[in-house]
Point group: C2
Chain length 235, copies 2
Amino acid sequence: MQIEVVPNVNEARSDNFINKTVIVIDVLRATSSIVTALECGSDGIIPVETVNEAKNFESKNDLLSGERYCKKISGFDLGNSPLEFLNHEIQGKRIIMTTSNGTRAIQKSHKAAHVIAGTILNASNCARKAFNLKRDIVLLCAGTQDQFSLEDGLCAGMMIHELKQLQEEIHLSDFSMTMYLSFLQSKNELQRTILQCSNGKKLCKMGFEEDVIFCTMQNEYSVVPILRDNIMVAM
Amino acid sequence: MQIEVVPNVNEARSDNFINKTVIVIDVLRATSSIVTALECGSDGIIPVETVNEAKNFESKNDLLSGERYCKKISGFDLGNSPLEFLNHEIQGKRIIMTTSNGTRAIQKSHKAAHVIAGTILNASNCARKAFNLKRDIVLLCAGTQDQFSLEDGLCAGMMIHELKQLQEEIHLSDFSMTMYLSFLQSKNELQRTILQCSNGKKLCKMGFEEDVIFCTMQNEYSVVPILRDNIMVAM
């Protein structure tokens, strides 16, 4: 089994995803919010690219969610904070979501055999379920404005760690090996490391420190979102 | 002091290097050969892009060196193996060198305030001398055919480790932090890790295992090559 890590959404080449399982990773915060939404009983999350697309998609009983520059979009029900999802009545509701990087990464994966959403909250189960799909795996780090983000890379490394426990003989690219080594080095202080990286510091400055702390809880949730007919549902 | 790591030569943007010190890293094998050549008494190394350029540059007493697809260029005196440089009479001679990735990275750095060559063999001294130049530092990993190479990333991490010992308060980008964490994780088995990465395996298969072992000796040499008027000389 081949494992590849793509450092940011800008480097994603959709033709490279054919016949593979893509795990989209946007720890801060899109895939953490998607996992939390499903864990809290949402019917599913529809990732869309633009604010207008989100509004056009919306039907009765749906919730609109999303951010631009880390802030909730005006008129939307929810931003991109997983803690909002925890505290909002979302049981049985569909969520239409648009974010700067995470939902774009999901859309860029459309040629893959399977698209699933991973984050630190569900990393172990996510890796296990991806492994059971028996295809080569691409860990697509969303990154931030076409730059690599440490928290996504460490989450990719965490999943590689899980995959290696399932099968010792997985083949890692050089970049994947780097993510794995970085995770091993920081696994006992993952939260502290992420609080100090670029997005961690930015979100803390904007008052979202609790989000960062929440998003760095390892394997707190078991749900694994998978894309079926353009909606992310529990696998 | 800002520290940035560029993952491969294709991602190098020369305008980003203005007023900075660029350390070009091509562990397997261009910068290891350059360091070895100067340590063995060469007058200097002129990096050029093409085979024809190398031949046009050559004057009496010069040596031609270089590789394509890891193999010595036909008619050249030397390939790109640092062990060849150790065993050849190069004292007092200039070397005209062209390689697939390393010399290209040096040429792409021409807008920097200073261009120096780093590798595992001279990492400690290289970091120290770059630090003393008192400018922001770019660690430019040459990579391989526009892909990230683990050995260059680990060497970048090793230099960051040195820089942090000189000044705790250096600012690392997310990607730089990843290189630093990866180095910390593998520093006690750097040779084994590099023997198992993509270029390490490829060179071993081609009969260059001794080169890989040589190039992964930590801080064996003290010389730091710097580019002055298009020739790399001892700093």
